[in-house]
Chain length 261, copies 2
């Protein structure tokens, strides 16, 4: 932002904040619903409510895209749908390959929300030779050996990894080598990729752990409110054991059996 409109081409150029980008799909979904109900116009307040954000944030977000609203009126639904779709790159077709056709991979292949919105499952790939040829969601599974060819032949630039964690990095490397530059990773692994490749991750167990953290806090506060001393994770202190004053682990090494695996 800064002092004055610097040297920009004509409209506003690059640099939509990442946080804004992450919300555009949300707005788009809300707008699409309005569009289906043939609502012509919507205010920032209404749309914000539908998308689950506050209206100031929404207006600021849209201001990064340009001035697409009408003061005193609101936003034209169809027009905004188009502008956001274009901004997100959904006016073109994105062939996607899913690698690792287990329970999750198959579920994703069958997932409807995939096909709509510019994404198309172009290939299913698995390392199990026995699966090769089996149709999943109407698409024949292909073997990992052909990964390179499959990616190039279909012009895939977005790959989805649903392999077991042990295979994820290797699959990732092969995808990248074959030309994929965006990866959606469902395996619970940290992937390393070269510059220029985007990785996003979806991790069930991380989400649950974050919920558990807050859940535990709630339990603690509730108990505190009850007047009881509570099991507040912080007050609970007085560590069950600690490394010996100036050493490694402490030979007494008694620690609650935590973490199954």
């Amino acid at each position: 932002m800064a002092t004055g409109r610097t040297h920009r081409p004509a409209t506003r150029s690059r640099g939509i904040p990442e946080a804004t980008v992450a919300r555009l799909p949300l707005y788009l979904r809300a707008l699409t619903a309005l569009s289906e109900r043939s609502v012509p116009t919507v205010s920032s307040e209404e749309l914000a409510a539908a998308a689950g954000v506050n209206s100031a944030k929404l207006r600021k977000d849209f201001s990064y895209l340009g001035s697409y609203g009408t003061r005193g009126v609101g936003y034209d639904v169809e027009y905004l749908v188009y502008q956001i779709s274009r901004e997100l790159g959904l006016t073109q077709d994105w062939p996607v390959a899913i690698v690792g056709i287990g329970n999750l991979g198959a579920a994703l292949a069958n997932y409807g929300g995939f096909a709509s919105r510019g994404f198309r499952v172009a290939a299913l790939i698995d390392a199990d030779p026995a699966m090769a040829g089996t149709p999943v969601a109407g698409i024949a599974v292909q073997h990992t050996d052909d990964l390179d060819r499959i990616i190039s032949d279909n012009g895939v630039s977005i790959g989805v990894i649903t392999t077991p964690p042990g295979a994820a990095q290797q699959v990732c490397d092969r995808l990248v080598a074959a030309g994929v530059t965006s990866i959606l990773n469902f395996a619970p692994t940290v992937l390393s990729v070269p510059d220029g490749v985007d990785v996003r991750k979806v991790d069930l167990s991380i989400e649950l752990q974050i919920l558990a953290f807050h859940e535990q806090r709630k339990a603690g506060e509730e108990a505190a409110a009850d007047g009881r001393t509570a099991v507040d994770p912080d007050t609970e202190e007085a560590p069950p054991m600690r490394a010996t004053p100036a050493g490694r682990k402490g030979p007494d090494g008694d620690m609650p059996a935590v973490m199954p695996a």
Copy 2:
């Protein structure tokens, strides 16, 4: 932190930043791997690399938990595993209910990473009467009619929603009414919940759209680097149509057929 140790109980109290909480599971995973390899000690640098963050961030994160490291040496792996587990509330058992046993729900029920780490699938619930009794991942599916009882009987406080979008809000309401205070939502819907209830969402289609945005940018930049005029989404401007100067949609209403559904 701050000028002086203010009036805190003894250790450091509440208020771990949300961003830090979201990374703790990542650290825990990396530490667990080290623990399995019987590595006794790790430096912030090494651990940060394994978790895919930089070391300054990691040290700052850990500083919110307390001073669990040893200067000149690093962190005791087992001890840190325990401290983070405790902080995240993983030293206790969290019974989880999954509502909506379609492809995705079933895949999650079968997902291994679920069972480990303190979470236990306590119930599977579906609205289809035909599914009632069918075992999925070794657990009999129960009918939505009994949702209330199932939640209370099992002491479930974390619910996972994998229903179609249309049913999600209703299921959410019922879960909350039954006592659930944390929800992990896989349905592409914005859920509204009362204060005190946490919702986290996992949304495939949003993730893909974010990737598409960056992917499109890459394509534009690459073309620009090639010297060609490129299809930079911004330069592309000169909108294909726009609401008439002072009115609604514009009667010419010609808009590219975007958005399948």
